[in-house]
Amino acid sequence: MILSVETWQITLFSLSVGLASTLLILPFGIALAWLFARKEWPLKSVLETIVLLPLVMPPVSTGLILLKIFGRRSPVGQWLYERGVEIVFNWKGVLIAMAVMSFPLLVRSVRTSFSEVNPRFEQIATTLGASSLRIFFVITIPLAYKGIIAGALLAFSRALGEFGATILLAGNIPGKTQTLSLAIYSFVQLGKDSEAYTLLGITVALAFLFVWCSEWLLRSAKKA
């Protein structure tokens, strides 16, 4: 199948911003997931709920909140603008929307994989004189890595499918902020069905690939 330049551009844009968003949230997601899995503190459940909110809230609502936070009239947006960073209506808006929307999925799945690591290994490692940092990188992460990769894949797929929050924060500007999902919506609106179906095919193929890989990893992690 020969894809048009435009289709390529949209696909590559989605994939690269999606990848960037996943890489951006990965360290924070892993750290937070570890805290959730291993530590207790007062009001922990409140933070857990807040992190999960974007998963259940209407994406458009999340988008509106983000727009209020990063818009130029808000203190945060103002502060960033003064330093030459603008989030709204460009690719950075897409990035932020994808990151926020996929973060809960990442945290949830990484948290599960940390919980499945027997804490006895970590305890024994401390008796052998290992520091918390060494235990984290030499014991916990390697034992949970399949779940972490699976979580990252899931987050990446969610990022690619992002629509509601993106359209509010970044708009739907062809060649600038138009992702696969936004483009499908536009093409359908404009009656360009064949373009829409091509993109549809791409999204189905990508989603299938990612979910399949992620499930396969989780299954093999359980077996190990």
Binding site: I124, T126, L128, G129, A130, I139, A224
Partner: protein, 357 residues
């Protein structure tokens, strides 16, 4: 070593206050009596409500003085029941995991990797993934890992519990070698009496989180409280013996007890003067008040009843026959024979009732 701690558990409180000095102290008690909790507390893996833990003159924990040293600074080698080898690392990486710590713990003699590999005979396993080890190999690797962290104390939590009987007999001698070779004090948790009698020079019996009795194993285990706790099948006599002569044709080996008496045990090809431990269940010893005749048993030892402890229809009869033997009889048998202290008796033991370690 001083252990004084109170730890709340689900159904009772662990409350132990002991002080002892032993090469290998065994904590003996039924499952669920708080043994593992106690080890966790010593290693610093579990919070203690109040108490004090002192090893080698240094305080690891003291609620009164506000001391609670983190596990990584305690210098304690812990071999948990399941071994807990890091499944993603090779045997080599596992056993060297704690070896880096040795620098900051002052020990007159550092234990070398070669020495440990030699004593535990695991040199050929180094490049294997730990998931490809047998139960016995995994236990030895876990032991090596703990020893190489140059600990001032080794904690072993039922190291033989998950192994089948044949394997137990193979691993037990390794534990004895570790005890004798490395001079690291050990605390050994078990609910198996044979292991206590074979390895330990001190025993703490605990039940429901409380100390029942403590002392040198043979003596401590003689008390009423102790007898009550010992599982039916487990009351055993353990002796250290030297080889005298072996006769494969006759199917038996003659050994000498420490006090000089000789016994026949099933044939074992060992050189003369070799020392081993043998054992016989207290239920496998017959007591007679007349010298028996026309009987197949290979061992008939004259002796004198030293004491009789009766409980729940059972009688534990201690007989001095050179060494001390324990025979478990019914109360009715004791009455029928008229056994009292100082009654002269004959102990009858089948050659094949003896097991060696």
């Amino acid at each position: 070593m001083l252990l004084r701690c109170r730890i709340p558990l689900a159904h009772f409180e662990l409350d132990i206050d002991v002080s002892f000095d032993a090469r290998l102290a065994s904590i003996f008690g039924p499952s669920g009596s708080g043994k593992t909790t106690l080890l966790d507390a010593i290693a610093g893996l579990r919070d203690i409500t109040a108490g004090e833990i002192e090893i080698d003159g240094s305080t690891l924990f003291s609620s009164a003085r506000g001391i609670n040293r983190p596990p990584r600074e305690r210098g304690i080698g812990y071999v948990p029941q399941e071994g807990a080898l890091f499944p993603h690392l090779s045997v080599r990486k596992n056993i060297l995991f704690g070896a880096g710590r040795s620098a900051d713990i002052s020990r007159s003699k550092k234990i070398s990797v070669e020495h440990v590999l030699g004593v535990l005979e695991i040199g050929s396993l180094l490049d294997r993934p730990v998931t490809k080890l047998s139960g016995g190999e995994a236990q030895r690797v876990a032991l090596a890992r703990a020893i190489l962290s140059q600990p001032r104390l080794l904690l072993l939590d039922e190291p033989l519990a998950s192994l089948d009987i044949g394997l137990k007999e193979k691993i037990l001698p390794y534990l004895a070698r570790v005890r004798d070779e490395f001079k690291i004090p050990m605390i050994y948790v078990t609910h198996n009496l044979t292991e206590v009698l074979t390895l330990a020079d001190w025993v703490l019996m605990i039940r429901q989180g409380r100390l029942v009795t403590q002392g040198v194993p043979k003596e401590a285990l003689r008390s009423m409280h102790a007898i009550m706790q010992i599982p039916e099948e487990q009351f055993e006599n353990v002796f250290t013996v030297t080889f005298v002569e072996s006769d494969p044709e006759a199917g038996r080996t003659k050994v000498r007890l420490q006090a000089g008496r000789e016994l026949f045990i099933p044939y074992l090809p060992r050189p003369r003067n070799n020392t081993i431990q043998i054992r016989i269940s207290a239920d496998d010893i017959l007591v007679a008040i007349k010298p028996p005749e026309g009987i197949s048993a290979g061992n008939i030892l004259p002796g004198t009843v030293r004491r009789i402890d009766m409980i729940d229809g059972q009688a534990m009869v201690t007989v001095a026959a050179g060494d001390e033997f324990y025979a478990r009889l019914t109360v009715s048998a004791v009455k029928r024979l008229g056994l009292v202290e100082k009654t002269p008796v004959f102990l009858i033991m089948k050659t094949r009732s003896f097991r060696s370690l």
